[in-house]
Amino acid sequence: MNGAKLREKIAFTVLGFVTLLVILPILLILYYVISRGWGAMSWEFLTQNPRNGMKEGGIFPALVGTILLVIGTMAFSLPLGILSAIYLVEYARDNLFTRMIKLSVVNLSGIPSIVYGLFGFTVFVVFLHFGASILAGSLTLAIMSLPVIITSTKEALEAVPMSYREISLSLGATRWQTIRYCVLPYAIPGILTGTVLSLSRAAGETAPILFTVAAFYLPHLPRSVFDQVMALPYHLYVISTQVPNVPEKFSFGTGLVLIALVCLMNVVSIVLRAHFRKKKQW
């Protein structure tokens, strides 16, 4: 073996080893959370209120709260994100307005989640008098989710062949009819995948909901969108740092449910993508 070949062999081995170094902790963390949290899993854990200073009972209100927040986030970010992406792909000309939108998407994607929290607090909670509420929290998470939804919707729209648009327009359809009947139906899988992905991120976020919605302890379900709720990520933060002597399996159990929820959403998005890809005919 000559020098160059030997160097190649060494380099590739090192690269492979480094990659293992990245992967191993991921598996280790998953194993650790699952094995320690499994003991807490029970029907009771998922469906009961926390009791006795959150040292007993379950995580039901936090689970429901997170699900409500995800739904609320989707209600705002999905239409806004899809419409913006449609603008960028189907309507935008190369002008100042378009460039500003693109720049805004880039910057929204980089703003730290805690800054979203501050913004949501000062605008939705204080300025618009929503108070700390599902509404304020959902709006905050929605703005934060926009960049991912827009980027993936844009990609999905751009993947629809130009010829579909030409066919429709050449038959005298208007621009919106063309988008509605000849573009969107074929872009839906990509849009859904991106949306579910961004919602799964929103489900796991803590910083944006700290001051906009999350309740420390609230053992009943909300009655309106102006109520506060507990949320899984914040609950995990609370029981692992703010409340002493919570049994470890409860913390791990909460973490496990949170990871499971996020992973479940990811799996849903992967299944959706595969399902639509099979049906795709072009």
Binding site: L15, L83, G110, T122, S200, E205, Y237, L258
Partner: protein, 289 residues
């Protein structure tokens, strides 16, 4: 006529949502600015930006953000120093060396990592990594800069790996084939040709990685010990910009100087990440071309 009406309404909605996006960025900036200015009316800007003491509830209070900026800077520098070489190496392996099936598995695992909520990693830091660091360096507490650095480096990996891998994959095949034609080994082609050709995409990855680390809140709040003093070593507890906002907002009285000072910290974060993202976008555009 009906068709025309629908068309007009929908197109207006589409334009409006584009306009809203721009409005959000402006609003975020304006609201942060408005509340920050309320601080600077009573507290000198220079003392804020160059003050070395963050003592928001002593009398008189002191809102110098140097300790917080240093805290953020140290954990970010540490995390980036660890995750850039590892991330780029892993990206090289995934993009150029790993066989097809392994590539899929590796990429899915990276996606799993990207989707683990930061609060879960923070929790892992408390129960596992913190005590580990404590025993390793014989510290009084494991809740210190280094624990944060490890976790942040880990969290930034997906960003760095995914974007670098895209950059590597978009280097034209021809470049490599030309190198092979001259008798280079695969490694020589990667090291001398592909890596330099992807450098601006990798720069973008690093920028976005830095943005990710600076902006991360929960992990640093949970594991770095939250001492707002100028850190001299990563083995000490320290406090970042993000953790300060998250940790103190709940206690700050609405409308107090302390309250406005936290918005000023938010403004600083906003400006830093704005610049990072803007630069990253520049690099990315260069790759696409």
């Amino acid at each position: 006529m009906n068709r025309k009406w629908t068309e007009t309404v929908i197109e207006a909605a589409i334009r409006l949502s584009g306009f809203l996006l721009i409005a959000f960025v402006f609003l975020i900036f304006l609201f942060l600015l408005k509340d920050s200015l309320s601080l600077f009316r009573v507290y000198p800007f220079f003392d804020f930006i160059a003050g070395t003491k963050w003592l928001p509830i002593s009398e008189p209070p002191s809102f110098g953000i140097v300790p917080l900026v240093m805290g953020s800077f140290m954990v970010t520098a540490g995390a980036i120093a660890i995750c850039v070489p590892i991330g780029v190496a892993a990206a090289l392996y995934i993009a150029e060396i790993a066989p097809g099936f392994l590539k899929t598995i590796l990429k899915s695992l990276i996606e799993v990592l990207a989707s683990i909520p930061s609060v879960v990693l923070g929790f892992i830091g408390i129960v596992w990594l913190g005590p580990f660091v404590k025993n390793l360096f014989h510290l009084r507490t494991g809740m210190c800069g280094l624990t944060g650095v490890f976790l942040l480096a880990f969290m930034a990996l997906p960003t760095i790996i995914t974007i670098s891998e895209d950059a590597l994959a978009s280097v034209p095949r021809m470049y490599k084939e030309a190198a092979y034609g001259l008798g280079a080994t695969k490694w020589q082609a990667l090291w001398r040709i592909v890596l330099p050709a992807a450098s601006s995409g990798i720069m973008a990855a690093i920028m976005l990685g830095i943005g990710r680390v600076i902006g991360e809140t929960m992990v640093v709040m949970m594991v770095t010990g939250n001492a707002p003093v100028i850190p001299t070593s990563l083995l000490q507890p320290l406090r970042t910009l993000t953790a300060t906002i998250a940790g103190e907002m709940g206690e700050a009285v609405s409308g107090s100087d302390h309250y406005y000072a936290l918005f000023a910290v938010g403004l600083v974060l906003f400006i830093i990440t704005f610049i990072l993202n803007f630069t990253a976008e520049r690099f990315l555009r260069r790759t696409r071309r």
